[in-house]
Point group: C2
Chain length 304, copies 2
Amino acid sequence: MGVEDLYGGVEAGGTKFVCMVGGGPSNIVDRLRIETTSPEDTLTRVAQFFEVYVSSRRIRALGIGSFGPIDLEPSSPNYGCITSTPKPGWQNTNITAALQTSLHLDIAVDTDVNAAGLGEAMWGAGRGFDPFLYLTIGTGIGGGFIQNGRPLHGLSHPEMGHIRIPHDRHVDDFPGNCPFHADCFEGLANGPAIERRLGRRPEALSDEDPFWQTEAGYIGAALATYVLILSPARIILGGGIMQRRFMLPVIRRAVLESLNGYVQQAPLLERIEEYIVSPQLGSESGAFGALALARQAAAGSRSH
Amino acid sequence: MGVEDLYGGVEAGGTKFVCMVGGGPSNIVDRLRIETTSPEDTLTRVAQFFEVYVSSRRIRALGIGSFGPIDLEPSSPNYGCITSTPKPGWQNTNITAALQTSLHLDIAVDTDVNAAGLGEAMWGAGRGFDPFLYLTIGTGIGGGFIQNGRPLHGLSHPEMGHIRIPHDRHVDDFPGNCPFHADCFEGLANGPAIERRLGRRPEALSDEDPFWQTEAGYIGAALATYVLILSPARIILGGGIMQRRFMLPVIRRAVLESLNGYVQQAPLLERIEEYIVSPQLGSESGAFGALALARQAAAGSRSH
């Protein structure tokens, strides 16, 4: 086996940044986890971590999977910039340009969820399933649709968490907490929505709490919509809420109930436990995905 | 200019079949429109129409855009077969195999709406917009998502008409007429749903009928979901309902209301009259799209 090329990866989150140097999940040379503070302090610490690897030419490119929304329009002067985030101080922070200025190397950037999808595509549960959907359900809800090893980008990146789903106020009178859409999927089912509805953080609920059935119903209804529009060959469910492992079979049943027999495909009807699955990279899909982005950037610059 | 290659195209619909021989919209050599009767009679007449062009080697390949659902799994023994349609007599009709047996030429098959999207991609309102969504709203509701000149296929073809959308029963107490999902988008907004709700066919409603505002709201809510999941660079709205031209601006406003400022993209916010548009091939997107399918089939068989 030859020496594997090394890359830098940054999972840029609203509460923490995870930085890695490595070739892939089986070959991580160095890592750093820092709390997200101000853009200046945070990005300075990120640049310091990578500097030695860049100056010694040990890493070829850097990938960033970032919280957002991010401007990903290649022709935009704000390419790679975090735009209208509610995170204080981070509005209009061009994380990509800042690290480019400090480090002078090829940088590829995408949303955190697209990066996580890419990580699962290259090294995880997405291998052999094309196209597939990676969904994260936690503080935020978002999805990345990966086709032929690339995340779907159109007019912009998808914002799948904000779709409407059926909301029966007789069952759940919480009005939703999305500032844009009130009771969209994210507004009903993300971590903060659970906390505001029940007065306790989701981590504090027991597995027996009846709310989990409602939550699984919302997730199932949303997945049914994704199946009808995207027809993915597999769905991978990550994020904090999905660490409750008992949820997965409840969600699978809810998807089948929502579709009600309309989509007659064997993977759904006969092998749903292989159709809707957990990530194989656990909570590190995003950081490994950032390495995958860097690999693609390096391959792209070689081919130019 | 050289002589253009000729192709055969079949738009296979539940009420009519449209057959064409030509190179594209500006070069149609022959056409036939027949009522859809039994599979045997209908397919015999289709084969007779094309036979002279096949035996004289004037057409290189045949494309079919068909009503469905269709089995489009390439490895399936039923590839190209209409499966669980409610159309009497047509269940499990392998339209593709039947025409292959009669005509002995390369045949490409896809859904009617994917074919129509392909027609708009090659010769219509989809040119220069990648990816884009073609949606038909009529007796049925369906969508084709066209990327790089190809319709999205995953586990199967998408079934976008069957997504859930908000349904306020205080405004519209019609329970929906989808046999699978009751008040999904198609169950609330297709032609038969309008007729069953109001006791009159949609064609009999005046432009001033207040129901059109409700209908535009449903269409706008569904388009908002497609925008959030697919992020298309353009949306093309075809089908019988969209022949009411006053609907287009009402729908555009409804999409913006549903998104409520969340998607900050200039094409939506500043140029929505160029973002949500009518087909350029009118009601013939599907038949021309079948020709486009045939062109791709011929190009594919050349490259093997």
